[in-house]
């Protein structure tokens, strides 16, 4: 292990909400990697035939899974909006402190709005499951 200082030096930063938006982007990304695992499992179950899919559906419709879907929807919405903010930053725009602070709030507001919208759609879709 090298003795030189290693990135990221999280402890040297004073906590700010702009820092939280960055950490949350990474955290939601990791959560979505787990969600991807679930997506692949679901696709495999469909390819496995009606009985395999029915078995998987029992597991995928457990109450705890509904909580997980709510989490994945929120993580997806946040990662999507925060990711677009990063892509805008990559063009060199919005990097001033005041702009970054404003866009941090915009990311929070937009991702909550999108989460509610998709959550409502998911609630309607879940009602169609017999």
């Amino acid at each position: 292990m090298p003795t030189r200082p290693l990135s990221p030096h999280l402890s040297v930063y004073k906590f700010k909400y702009t820092l939280a938006t960055s950490i949350l982007n990474r955290f939601t990304g990791l959560a979505l990697s787990l969600g991807f695992l679930l997506l692949v499992y679901w696709l495999l179950s469909v390819a496995g035939g009606a009985r395999a899919q029915a078995r998987a559906a029992t597991l995928l419709s457990l109450p705890v899974m509904k909580l997980a879907y709510a989490g994945f929807i929120a993580a997806f919405c946040y990662h999507l909006v925060a990711g677009i903010r990063h892509l805008i930053w990559d063009t060199g725009r919005g990097l001033e402190r005041a702009q970054a602070q404003r866009s941090a709030w915009l990311v929070v507001v937009l991702s909550i709005a999108l989460t509610l919208l998709i959550g409502y759609g998911a609630w309607l879709a879940a009602a169609r499951i017999p």
Partner: protein
């Protein structure tokens, strides 16, 4: 005390001349994932139900199969790139880090290949 000069220590240990490749690939996959993931969420929520026959009918449409394959490949790639950065930041020790990175790459490749195979089996009508 080492007799090697500071220059001798760093020669050959420097840039692999692909410094921006990871960064650029992460951007490209994220740009592709914006429409792909939104298509997936909207079409999933628009499904009339989630019974096997409904899902097969949906995945048999060529546009669905094509977009699903693009989605799982791009998502697996983007996820691998993201997990890689986190591992590089938080897993210290070259040995463990190499093992975890290789493991992540293997798992992501396996998931991507399995998902593509699953979509193809349903889309081509060879699933049971």
């Amino acid at each position: 005390m080492s007799l090697r000069s500071p220059l001798g220590k760093v020669l050959g240990a420097g840039s692999a001349k692909q410094g921006v490749h990871h960064w650029w690939t992460q951007r490209l996959t994220s740009v592709a994932l914006v429409p792909l993931s939104m298509w997936f969420v909207v079409s999933l929520l628009a499904l009339p139900g989630f019974a096997h026959a409904t899902l097969v009918a949906w995945m048999t449409q060529s546009w669905t199969a094509l977009l699903l394959i693009l989605l799982v490949l791009t998502a697996a790639w983007h996820s691998q790139l993201g997990v890689r950065v986190v591992v590089e930041d938080y897993v210290h020790g070259a040995g463990l880090r190499t093992v975890v990175l290789a493991g992540s790459l293997f798992v992501h490749t396996l998931l991507a290949a399995a998902a593509v195979l699953a979509v193809l089996r349903v889309a081509l009508g060879v699933a049971p």
